[in-house]
């Protein structure tokens, strides 16, 4: 018996217009002005998706990986019918529910109870369904005492709990999730992951985007790697994640980005250096590495902290360091624009292999930047055996052996 198909995508392309319009609406005057210089605008398009085709059987969980701007979110939005493709078609069978953010449509003036009904209706639940599952939702959120409190008096943690409790009780046939797990604390993330895997076990179709490659391999058996709007690879998630991280590791671990004044926070450069700050072209295992990134902040930000993370080719987060003890050190950007240089020196623990450096800038309320910025390879040392890279390990710190043979005879 052939498995039923839940999602079918046929040569899907989506084009966005660059320039003023990308930032959103225009005024009439701008449109009239643009019309006059139309010929110069022809190249001002960005293909967020280009000729993407795939299909997903019912009850499969599919992970999407790819760098920022690869078209992952656009693909989710097309699948969820939030936006239309420029050409091609996507078909879904069954109710599709998109969780592109938590608490969509929450209103600060309404109480917790009122917001549950509002949010659930927005996510496609009928009033009767909400009535039936209301107690479960409240239980799940653990906010019985605050049901009649306006949402604006909630803490961020309570807000997240309420939002996720509603989302977790929506039961679409096709679950479309984007980065929801990126917010909140570790416990919240774990809870989200757990619910996501339940979605899978319940036989729902899941499409899942995350920067956390580990959760992709954990939740999904299949993954698609998107880059520049095109499918680079499609297959078992472990294999795809590995290929993605190894991907296009350049010879030199260094990258510069074109400044884009429309972004309020933007990474400008990243590289790998030794512990004295000399850039390395060929980092080797067994030496301390300094991971560096520079970004520009173009608008005022309240207290923010910085984190750097390193994921290996299996998607395991080897490092996830927040500046200062538990993020105690903070920056205040009160005179933008300004550039921030961040350097994290790591003792020699990374085994030879390919890695992905991620940077995060945010506060406990918001994240302003979360991006994988640099792929880099840590090379084996000249005297390492040839199979060094293929060993299945996470860390390789300098160690001291003590093996003594005692003759018993």
């Amino acid at each position: 018996m052939a498995p039923q198909t839940a999602i079918e995508v046929e040569s899907l392309s989506k084009r966005y217009r660059l320039g003023q319009n990308l930032g959103g609406y225009t005024t009439l005057r701008e449109t009239l002005a643009a019309r006059r210089r139309r010929d110069t605008q022809e190249d001002a398009y960005l293909w967020a998706l280009r000729d993407v085709s795939f299909s997903v059987p019912k009850d499969q969980a599919l992970g999407l990986v790819g760098p920022n701007g690869a078209g992952k979110t656009t693909l989710l939005k097309v699948l969820a019918r939030i936006t239309q493709p420029t050409s091609g078609v996507s078909r879904t069978r069954g109710r599709a529910g998109a969780l592109l953010d938590v608490g969509t449509g929450f209103h600060p003036e309404l109480t917790g109870r009122e917001n549950i009904y509002l949010n659930a209706a927005i996510l496609g639940m009928s009033r009767r369904e909400v009535d039936r599952r209301f107690d479960e939702i409240v239980d799940f959120a653990g906010l019985e005492r605050f049901l009649e409190t306006p949402l604006k008096r909630y803490s961020w943690g309570m807000y997240l709990r309420l939002a996720f409790a509603v989302a977790a009780h929506v039961e679409p046939d096709i679950v479309i999730v984007d980065e929801v797990l990126a917010v909140g604390d570790a416990r919240f993330r774990a809870k989200c992951l757990e619910r996501m895997s339940e979605f899978g076990q319940e036989g729902r179709t899941v499409v899942f985007v995350s920067h956390d490659l580990g959760s992709i391999t954990q939740l999904c058996r299949r993954a698609i790697w998107l880059d520049h709007g095109q499918i680079q690879a499609d297959g078992p998630s472990e294999e795809i994640v590995q290929r993605y991280v190894r991907g296009s590791v350049g010879d030199v671990p260094r990258i510069d980005f074109e400044p884009d004044p429309t972004q309020r926070v933007q990474v400008l450069a990243a590289d790998v250096a030794d512990d004295e700050g000399r850039p390395l072209d060929h980092p080797e295992r067994g030496q301390p590495l300094t991971l560096r990134t520079r970004f520009v902040v173009r608008e005022e930000l309240p207290v923010v902290s910085v984190a750097l993370s390193v994921q290996d080719q299996r998607g395991i987060r080897v490092l996830d360091e927040v500046w200062g003890e538990h993020g105690a050190d903070v920056l205040t950007i009160d005179d933008p624009p300004c550039e921030v240089d961040v350097a994290l020196t790591v003792p020699p623990i990374l085994p030879a292999g390919d890695y992905l450096l991620g940077v995060w800038l945010g506060s406990s309320y918001d994240s302003f930047l979360e991006q994988e910025v640099l792929r880099f390879r840590v090379w084996p040392r000249a005297d390492d055996p040839a199979d060094e890279v293929d060993r299945d390990r996470v860390a390789q710190p300098p160690v001291r052996w003590q093996v003594r043979r005692a003759d018993l005879r």
Partner: protein, 292 residues
């Protein structure tokens, strides 16, 4: 092996009796279906209701006078207009006491102007929803037209009080009252749908609208009587559908003169406006998430 088969078997047993859900397509299409749009609206009626209820709740939260505003707004306007136009200008009112004459039109006018303004902002104000969830987009302007009906109902009770105080007895035409309210709703939708979509692309709408509504008020028989317009001009005047709606409402409630044949012009304007508005909305809808 067997367990896997059993699982498959049981799964298909569960599936077999229920029909497979139909494919839902999202493609690049230049077609637009005003009919499909109305059908979507029906499918999402519960969401429309939830939006409307939430709007009402939010509006009267932390407002000291609460629901009393539904009465205060038209009443204050009427007191002002009664002094300026009723006393000073001495405009004809078709034999209806000026406060009744003015208030009856004012409550319906306020419903329309506030409804159009709310509908025009409905998509732009819900940017988050538009870019992050799918729902039938027409729900937004449609549900913006609903909360005002509650205010209208409250204000209507006060109107009944005024009728008693000024000793005005409605004629048999009172049975048509709901018709004029429905007509007012249609006017709001005919203007609200295209304006909300236009506002997504051009924020000029929000800036220009207060002025346009102000002009519209004086182009409508709210403070004066439509009987000031005579002869063939009546048909030109009826291009503003509010002239017929307000006159008709006064006819039903306060025994004013009945609307003439020029009402057909108004009806045609609303009908054409609705169709054109919905078609424009359905076309623009495709790019809302990208532009808003």
């Amino acid at each position: 092996m067997t367990t896997a088969d059993e699982r498959l078997g049981s799964a298909s047993r569960n599936e077999a009796p229920s029909r497979l859900p139909a494919w839902v397509e999202n493609g690049a299409s230049d077609r637009f279906h005003p009919i499909a749009l109305v059908r979507d609206l029906w499918t999402y009626r519960e969401l429309a209701r939830t939006f409307a209820v939430s709007t009402l709740r939010v509006r009267y939260k932390q407002a000291a006078f609460g629901v009393a505003w539904a009465i205060l707004q038209p009443l204050l306007a009427v007191i002002l207009f009664s002094i300026v136009f009723g006393r000073l200008a001495g405009l004809p009112t078709d034999g209806i006491p000026y406060p009744v004459f003015n208030y009856s039109a004012m409550i319906l006018w306020l419903y329309v102007s506030l409804g159009v303004a709310a509908a025009a902002q409905s998509l732009v104000e819900n940017r988050d929803l538009i870019t992050k969830v799918y729902f039938a987009r027409p729900v937004a302007p449609f549900s913006a037209a609903l909360p005002g009906l509650v205010d209208l109902a409250i204000a209507f009770v006060v109107l009944l009080g005024l009728l008693v105080v000024y000793d005005v007895t409605p004629s048999w035409a009172v049975v048509f009252t709901p018709l004029w309210v429905l007509a007012a709703v249609l006017v709001v939708l005919a203007a609200g749908f295209p304006l909300s979509a236009l506002n997504v692309r051009f924020r000029d709408v929000r800036l220009a609208l207060p002025l346009v509504l102000q002009l519209w008020l004086f182009a409508s028989p709210v403070v004066y009587s439509a009987s000031l317009v005579e002869g063939g001009w009546k048909y030109v005047y009826a291009l503003n559908p509010m002239s017929t709606v307000l006159d008709g409402f006064r006819w039903s409630i306060a025994d004013g003169p009945p609307p003439g044949p020029e009402a057909l012009v108004s009806a045609a304007v609303v009908a054409v406006g609705l169709v054109v508005g919905l078609v424009y909305f359905a076309r623009a809808e495709r790019s809302f998430a990208d532009v808003v």
